[in-house]
Amino acid sequence: MKKPFFHKRNTLIRFRIFSFGTSILALGFLLIIFRVTMPGLFLEAAAPLFNIGTSLTTDVFNVTNSFANTRALTNEKTQLLTRNNILLRENETLMARVQDLTALIGTSTPRVHGIVANVLARPPQSPYDTLLINSSASSHIIPGDYVLAQGGTPIGTIGAVYAHTAYVILFSTHNATTTAWVGTKRTPITLIGTGAGMFTARVVRQAGVSIGDRILVPGPGSVHTIGTVVRLDTEPVATMITLRIRPLVNIFSLTTVEVVPH
């Protein structure tokens, strides 16, 4: 006859209070308490994980790119280098004109020097249009300072500052409004953020806005191009048209930004 076997129960090991679900709940409460009481330290502790994530993304991109067609990559590189050289020459021509006009008129707008900061986290990791950047206590960054991408394009403002990190609220945040101008006539508009780096705006039909018109925003020292009109949504009887705007800056690939005083 087969004897029944009863597994020995060790009450210390199978102590029910340490179940997986309870552990997750305890972790969640610890997270809330840590974040509320010490937000700067919390973000500082999370920074290495963000850096690992960025490194992994770059490594995966390099690996997948190595499988791409070599000839296609070479052609693309040649085209990009050619275009880069053309843009550099155009930039030098424009700079020379600015210098001539400055010498003629006798005034110039001094360049505001900013602080370069690394981007720790960006969309689409973040469901909100915010950036997490590193900063130091000696950088004197305050909420409201302008944040520029490479090339000087304004992308947002500082929302909150901690000991070693800061949050940037982008202009494309859902329902955020920004004063801007469109086209060669500099028609004033109000940019409305729709999230994921995109904007819309509404303008009267008679304004004569067309696809390809530049969108300009005020920034530190001058006016900057922030995007271009890519689509016009019109209705037959409506007097207003909706502009769909593509930004110049790809917020999903920002690695460094510049913070300038407001």
């Binding site: 997750i24 973000l43 690992i52 986290a121 915010t130 929302g159």
Partner: protein, 84 residues
């Protein structure tokens, strides 16, 4: 075991993956552990939410909604399976 792995993966994925992937993994893990959705929502807001960006911390709100739905669905399926 697989749901435990998914839960731990969901807790770490806000640092590495887009929020949409994190949300999908959290929803799947909450089928077994409903609290995971709430905790992941709190975690995303702790990492990325700043006052002024939106009126409410939507990740936490959606985490609570998904958790409640997961609890209700689990209770319904348990009752249905027991009674059937």
């Amino acid at each position: 075991m697989i749901f435990r792995f998914l839960s731990i993966f969901a807790l770490f994925s806000p640092f590495f993956f887009p929020w949409l992937y994190t949300a999908v993994v959290a929803i799947i893990a909450s089928a077994r552990y409903p609290l995971v959705a709430f905790i992941v929502g709190i975690e995303i807001d702790a990492l990325y939410y700043v006052h002024g960006v939106t009126s409410l911390p939507y990740a936490s709100v959606w985490g609570i909604i998904v958790m409640i739905l997961a609890i209700l669905i689990r209770r319904f399926t348990r009752v249905y399976l027991i009674t059937s």
